[in-house]
């Protein structure tokens, strides 16, 4: 039986961008406000889950041709890389550095290597949740 989910699919197409923007906001607000890599990654995977609900697994694989296990690996590399980067400057493992830069559009911005570590957390959370959900969803 073919069902017509036009309302769900249209609502998804609009809501998806709101959820993705909210997750990006949560990710970048994490240093000064509540948020961070974990909840940002969970919201991004929530957006992908909404896409999976409104469409099917095959279509979502065509839209996002991503191997989520590789996403986990890249996230772990980010975390280890920021940790090991401190070793090149004669500092202990996982020592973070920060600076204030004057970027052309953003003005005075604090650049912190903890953001790179948080990117690793973000990618690992997306990869793990999407691997779990897709593996359960594909099994018959």
């Amino acid at each position: 039986m073919k069902t017509n989910d036009i309302i769900l699919q249209t609502v998804t197409k609009f809501t998806l961008f709101v959820i993705i923007l909210f997750s990006i906001h949560l990710f970048f607000a994490g240093h000064y406000y509540p948020g961070g890599g974990f909840i940002g990654g969970l919201m991004t995977s929530g957006a992908i889950v909404l896409l999976l609900l409104a469409f099917d697994i095959k279509t979502v694989k065509m839209i996002l041709p991503v191997d989520y296990l590789k996403v986990v690996a890249v996230g772990l590399l980010f975390a280890i890389g920021t940790g090991a980067g401190a070793l090149f400057f004669d500092k202990p493992f996982l020592t973070h550095a920060y600076t204030y830069a004057y970027l052309p559009l953003l003005g005075k911005t604090s650049l912190h290597t903890a953001v790179l570590f948080d990117t690793g957390v973000f990618l690992v959370v997306i990869g793990v949740t999407m691997t779990i959900i897709q593996t359960i969803g594909e099994s018959e």
């Binding site: 069902t3 509540p34 909840i39 909404l50 609900l53 409104a54 099917d56 095959k58 279509t59 959900i133």
Partner: protein, 96 residues
């Protein structure tokens, strides 16, 4: 005075949530329970908003949007399970 108004509002929303919990427990069909759970989530949004006014903080404002999104995704997932028996199909236009 203003705090009293806020606490009265929280009390009434809590009473509404008790009524919804009655519907979740008693509801004859599953659809009743799903709608009641969705409404509980939305009531929770207003409780969080009122409590964040009482505590004079803006730290909970992200939680409001978060509960809204999660309630939406959960309700969509449950209603799709009720309608089709599966939550995610592999190929919608195929034979599976």
């Amino acid at each position: 005075m203003f705090d009293a108004v806020l606490w009265i509002s929280v009390t009434f929303i809590s009473l509404a949530m008790i009524g919804l919990i009655y519907r979740v427990i008693k509801g004859p069909t599953v659809a009743d329970r799903v709608v009641a759970l969705d409404a509980i989530g939305i009531s929770l949004v207003s409780v969080v908003a009122l409590v964040s006014i009482v505590l004079e903080t803006s730290a909970f404002l992200d939680i409001i949007l978060l509960i809204g999104i999660l309630a939406f995704i959960g309700t969509v997932a449950f209603s799709k399970f009720l309608e089709k028996g599966v939550i995610m199909e592999y190929d919608r236009n195929g034979d599976r």
